[in-house]
């Protein structure tokens, strides 16, 4: 689910809503947090002060010696940049074939469903496909999508998806930037995309929509408790999706490095859907909270 369906696909789903697509971005943020989290967060609050000190407007003060070398230098400014995650996309969001994450989705009415994301293909060029299927308690399929992404190392791009339930596929131009490395607190990245929807049966053109997606890395969170357990040093990314003609959709997403998205709170019109990690397997090893 964290690989959640991208906005694009939603547009084509005639009768099925979709969760927003912030997941991957969130994952990236999470990874960064693990690598650099504490130091980055500590420095973050001192950037303005450091600059003031370096340029002489203010006397030196405590807490700005980011590298603890006893002197206030440019090195302290560099360290003060609030990088939440510096690795590559796959560090934060692994996507080897057969990696699988299982989520518990709780809609605003309290109805619980199970969503399973599985990486079903991957090529050396960075393209990979995630099978995302959501079923209800009676194992009836609610949504089933094949989502296409491209991992360029420093960027995670969402290319479109195929809706297996509604026999539709969606392509977007330009690809949606879901994650841009490094993840820096407060440094947003947005993409405005135009997506077209077609029938998978005969290519019939169904429609198109425009939307703007914005992702903003927020912080490193010490710990987050989800169904799978308690994860520490989690990257928090805020996302918003504005489809023309629709209510604003916002996401508070949390990523654990080496796992991916572990929690997503999607809010539309004051109604929140919670998607939390229940279990998973990464690289053939069960996901264990840490």
């Amino acid at each position: 689910m964290f690989y959640t369906r991208p906005p694009i696909r939603s547009k084509c789903s005639p009768s099925i809503g979709y969760r927003s697509a912030c997941t991957l971005l969130v994952l990236l943020a999470g990874t960064a947090a693990l690598a650099f989290g504490r130091g980055a967060l500590a420095a973050t609050t001192s950037v303005d002060t450091l600059i003031q000190v370096l340029f002489g407007d203010l006397p030196a003060s405590d807490g700005v010696d980011a590298n603890n070398d006893g002197a206030i230098t440019v090195a302290d400014v560099v360290l003060a940049v609030p990088v939440l995650f510096e690795g590559v996309v796959s560090d934060l969001v692994p996507h080897a074939v057969n990696d699988q994450l299982v989520y518990r989705d709780t809609d605003p009415l309290g109805v619980v469903t199970t969503e399973t994301t599985t990486v079903v293909s991957s090529d050396p060029g960075g393209a990979f496909v995630i099978d995302d299927e959501e079923v209800d308690n009676n194992h009836q399929i609610i949504t089933h999508e094949l989502q296409s992404y491209t991992d360029s190392g420093m960027k995670l791009l969402y290319d479109g998806y195929t809706d297996e339930v509604n026999n539709a596929f969606t392509t977007c131009s330009p690809p949606l930037r879901r994650m841009v490395m490094p993840l820096i607190a407060g440094q947003s990245f947005s993409t405005t995309i135009d997506c077209s929807v077609y029938s998978t049966l005969d290519g019939t053109y169904i429609g198109d929509s425009n939307e703007t997606d914005v992702f903003t890395p927020i912080e490193i969170v010490d710990s987050i408790e989800v169904a799978a357990g308690t994860f520490t040093h989690v990257v928090h990314i805020n996302g918003s999706r504005q489809v023309i003609g629709a209510a604003l959709e916002t996401h508070e997403s949390y990523f654990a490095s080496g796992v991916g998205p572990i929690l997503d709170l999607m809010t539309i019109g004051g109604q929140t859907t919670r998607t939390e990690l229940e279990s998973g397997t990464i690289g053939g090893v069960p996901v264990v909270p840490r």
């Binding site: 809503g17 019939t204 429609g207 023309i244 999607m266 019109g269 859907t273």
Partner: protein
């Protein structure tokens, strides 16, 4: 003044027909074991106010039990469902001289000489609620017809308001077909142009007779009465905290500039050759340019009439924007169709119509046998059999026939003419 002249004019003549049909679907794979009923009454009249001023009209009342009909009357064919009452034509004809006729009112302007597929019918819309019972609908217009010697010319102007064809309903609805593919709901909206000066349509025909040959040139500027289907903006709602996207399909009637030729020529007393070719051009980005051509030969022998025709669609310029479906205008690509008819003027008559798309995608057969029970009271047994060989069509993608890959409607009709 009109009333005074009417007092001395001939009495108006009225005639018409009443018909009742009931039909079913033997194949459970199509519509299932059910019966549908259809009723229609047609009243026609004509008369004269004076030697130069005459009138004519045709009115129609219909009813059915499959929800194809709603509302008492529909201006401009604006309603998606057909109305119970329709004025098919209602015209005043003014003939100041034998060569000149000016007609004002709701009238048919169809320059095609073919029965079913009619490239040269550029102006007259149809009610295709039931695709097997298409009815031509008059257009509110002013026409001037001039004929002298072997030459004739006609100008038809439809001021201000465009009148579209009424689209097939029920399982022939293109929107239903698309929605079925997507497994969800949809919204269909008719894009009816506003009433304004630049929506005025005009068509002209100039022709001549040369020996047995009748040939004419036709032209038209306005909108296509046959819709194409374009995607509208998704209708987005929030359901249980998620965005729900509902497709919207727009019935769009593209701007049209068309021109072509029609010709017919008899070979002896039994054969008749006919040909039409019309080029369709549109300034709209989502409409192709294409050439429609049809040629046919008719053979008449005593009580028999045999017609064989061939129609083809040749696309010449590709549209720059995609559509959901190109509509009925582009459905047939390479179509062979014909009819064998028997009518000896006695109690029994019948016909067999058939058509086959040479791309192997579509076959239709329509047999009918009628028997005169009493005077002008007829009972008919008819069938409509369709076999669509593909779930989708290579040249036109989804069509309304796609929803019924196999159709085998059988029915009876009682009809009384008066």
């Amino acid at each position: 003044m009109l009333g005074a002249r009417a007092a001395v004019a001939a009495a108006p003549a009225l005639n018409g027909a009443v018909q009742y049909e009931t039909f079913g679907y033997p194949d459970s794979g199509t519509q299932g074991p059910r019966w549908e009923n259809f009723f229609a009454a047609t009243l026609r009249g004509h008369g004269q106010f004076s030697s130069t001023l005459t009138w004519q009209f045709e009115g129609r009342a219909v009813a059915d039990d499959v929800d194809f009909t709603a509302g008492a009357y529909s201006l401009r064919n604006a309603s998606r469902r057909r109305p119970y009452l329709s004025l098919i034509t209602g015209v005043l004809d003014y003939r100041p001289s034998p060569e000149l006729r000016v007609s004002v009112g709701k009238q048919i302007a169809n320059w095609s000489s073919f029965d079913e597929i009619q490239p040269a019918n550029l102006m007259t819309p149809r009610d295709e609620s039931d695709v097997f019972r298409r009815v031509e609908l008059g257009i509110p217009s002013i026409s001037v017809h001039y004929g002298s010697g072997g030459t004739f010319a006609e100008l038809v102007v439809v001021p201000l308001a465009f009148n579209p064809s009424r689209l097939p309903q029920g399982r022939w609805n293109i929107g239903t077909t698309i929605a079925r593919k997507l497994g969800g709901s949809f919204v269909e909206r008719q894009d009816l142009p506003p009433v304004r000066l630049n929506e005025t349509q005009a068509g002209a025909r100039v022709g001549t007779h040369w020996g047995g040959l009748e040939a004419s040139v036709v032209g038209y500027v306005g909108r296509d009465t046959a819709a194409e289907f374009v995607p509208g903006r998704f209708i987005i709602t929030v359901v249980n905290g998620r965005l729900k996207f509902t497709p919207q399909i727009i019935d769009h009637f593209p701007l049209l500039r068309a021109g072509g030729i029609t010709a017919s020529y008899p070979l002896g007393e039994r054969w008749l050759l006919r040909v039409e070719s019309v080029y369709y051009n549109s300034p709209e980005r989502d409409r192709d340019d294409f050439l429609h051509s049809v040629a046919g030969i008719e053979y008449a022998l005593d009580d028999w009439r045999i017609v064989a025709s061939y129609f083809r669609d040749d696309q010449t310029v590709n549209a720059t924007e995609a559509v959901t479906n190109k509509g009925e205008r582009r459905f047939f690509q390479s179509f062979i169709f014909g009819e064998v008819r028997y009518d000896a003027g006695r109690r029994l008559r019948g016909h067999l119509r058939a058509g086959y798309d040479a791309n192997g995608e579509f076959l239709i057969v329509q047999p009918e046998v009628s028997y005169r029970l009493w005077r002008t009271l007829w009972a008919a047994l008819f069938g409509e059999i369709i076999q669509a060989n593909r779930s989708s069509y290579c040249h036109n993608k989804t069509s309304y026939f796609d929803a019924i890959s196999h159709e085998d409607r059988l029915g009876t009709r009682i009809e009384y003419d008066f």
